[in-house]
């Protein structure tokens, strides 16, 4: 029963696990970026689910009853971390574009082979 109640935590673990797998074992650069984004989503989901209180509402007082609100700090942290994740993803995609411009491929083993040929 506890497993069912803690379902958000389990989905975080799954997201982070699949993301790390993709980041380490995939050879396509775009897939690595996707993997890192998955990890980031997992961590964000974990942060936001830490602050949930059962049956509570958003901590905003405009036209709302004031009792029982969820914790505001995890939401603020998640907001910050989403923007940071966006920034890292954008920069990594820019590197991908540059790699493609230089080498004409996004497969890391093919890039490594090309670099080796060039140095010889």
């Amino acid at each position: 029963m506890k497993i069912l109640l803690d379902l958000p935590y389990i989905s975080c673990a799954l997201l982070i696990g699949f993301g790390v797998y993709a980041a380490i074992f995939k050879s396509n650069l775009i897939k690595i970026v996707i993997g890192l984004s998955l990890v980031e989503r997992g961590v964000n989901l974990f942060l936001v689910s830490l602050g949930y209180r059962e049956g509570a509402r958003a901590p905003i007082f405009t036209y709302a009853p004031t009792e029982n609100m969820v914790l505001p700090t995890p939401q603020a942290l998640t907001l910050t971390s989403i923007v940071i994740g966006l920034a890292t993803t954008a920069l990594m995609l820019a590197f991908c574009i540059q790699v493609y411009r230089k080498h004409g491929t996004l497969e890391s083993d093919r890039i490594a082979r090309k670099l080796k040929e060039k140095s010889e």
């Binding site: 942060l47 914790l71 700090t73 990594m92 670099l115």
Partner: protein, 513 residues
Amino acid sequence: MSIVEHSPALLVGIPLLAAFATPLISKASGKLRDIFVFLCLAFIFALAVVLISDVIQNGTRVYVMGGKLPSLTLPSGKTFPIRIILEPDAMSALMVLLTALIGLIGFLYSLQFIRAEGAPDKFYTLFMLLIAGMLGLEMTGDLFNFFVFFEITSIAACGLVGFRISEATSSVAAFRTMTIYTLSGLILLLGVGLLYGEYDALNIAYIASKLSFSGVDKLALALFIGALLMKIGSVPAHMWVPDAYGESPAPATIALVINTQAGLYGLLRVCFTLFGVSRAAHIGWLLAIIGTISILVGVLASIYQNDLKRLIAYTAVSQTGYMLMALGAGMAAKGELGFGRTALEGGVFHIFNDVISMGLVFLCAGMIYRATGIRDLNKLGGLAGKMRWIAVLFLIGGLAVAGLPPFNGFASKLMIYESVYKLNPIFSALALLCSIILLGVYVRLFYSIFLGSKLVEPQRIPKGMILASSLLALLIIGIGLLPGMVVKSLVSPAVGALMDKAGYIGKVIAGGM
């Protein structure tokens, strides 16, 4: 309002101001931008001197962001801090001073260096962002804030690694570095989340005072240590170091070196303040072992390198290993037992020395690359005739890195050998052996670049670059002649502050009114 009181906030605010304004000013005039960035960096250096003299005299400072008073850490009638608190102690102040110094020297060097590379405005912006991120990282007393500055340094550093877009390898190197940095940042964030869920707090001092070492706490601390080991490029994740150091322009490389040391500072903060040195014995052993392996891997890999900057980068991995080994040995001895404190002082002193000597070597490598356009060691040779002064500088830097007596590296390495020997003679013997190999590597490097038959005709090197490198060489010789004074006035207070967990916590917890 006094400048001493606000120096922690200004130390982050001024470099950010410089970074935000640089693109605008350089649209108006390039000369104006150079003057503006220089003034900002000089001001930062002055502030860092003010901060360190104040911290060593009056103890750890607190600065509450947005509070009614800079020192009012707790809201009225409450026992927990709510705002972000900067808490520079003597160790932070030492790192801040070092960062400001490297920023100034890197700027002097890049004045004439970067004009040939193109897009100087973007370079200076990223450089200032990296400096700002490191200064924030070294002073903050808040876990999530630490993560934010960690990410600023990561992104700015990767932008600098990918700066040379005309080279085929730079974007690949930048991508690899970014992968490791992003992964380590996310692991760090997961640890912050775990601790937040347990204590509903983000302040390092407050969490340290409440820490109960339950399973979740231990998991979080393990995640912190793993993430920071990735960031500093110790052995299991050292592959980004040669990529990043090898591809970035020389003034950016020395900023990356100090960025690595800032990560090491974070590791110390986690081990000493969150854990407490009395509980960190087994972590100390782990760090000492990882450090020894890093030394071995770095030195052995550097023997087979044929690329000038990658070779030096591998020796940088081994230098990080020396620091990890010393600090780990100090932790394993709980900072007591006579030699523990010496080990910690040796480690912290080596941070100081490594930044300066490694920086000088990288700046010299940048000048050699600038003069010849070649990084392949087989194609370099006989440069001593035309580049006599640079040959001398390179020799000073190389011998300092290898740890030869008249220079600064010897002083700290001697402290490390002595103290680590008492923990475990094998570590010390391996480190000594690797130092000898390192000496061989640098002598070979010097020989193949500067002596032998002349293979290329070097171009003239601008005076500003030589001047900036000479400043570092002067520091190396100065510290090498007076190591006792530096240890006593700067390093010893820093180690004292690191070990004083109760004092660090007390500054925040007792700050209510």
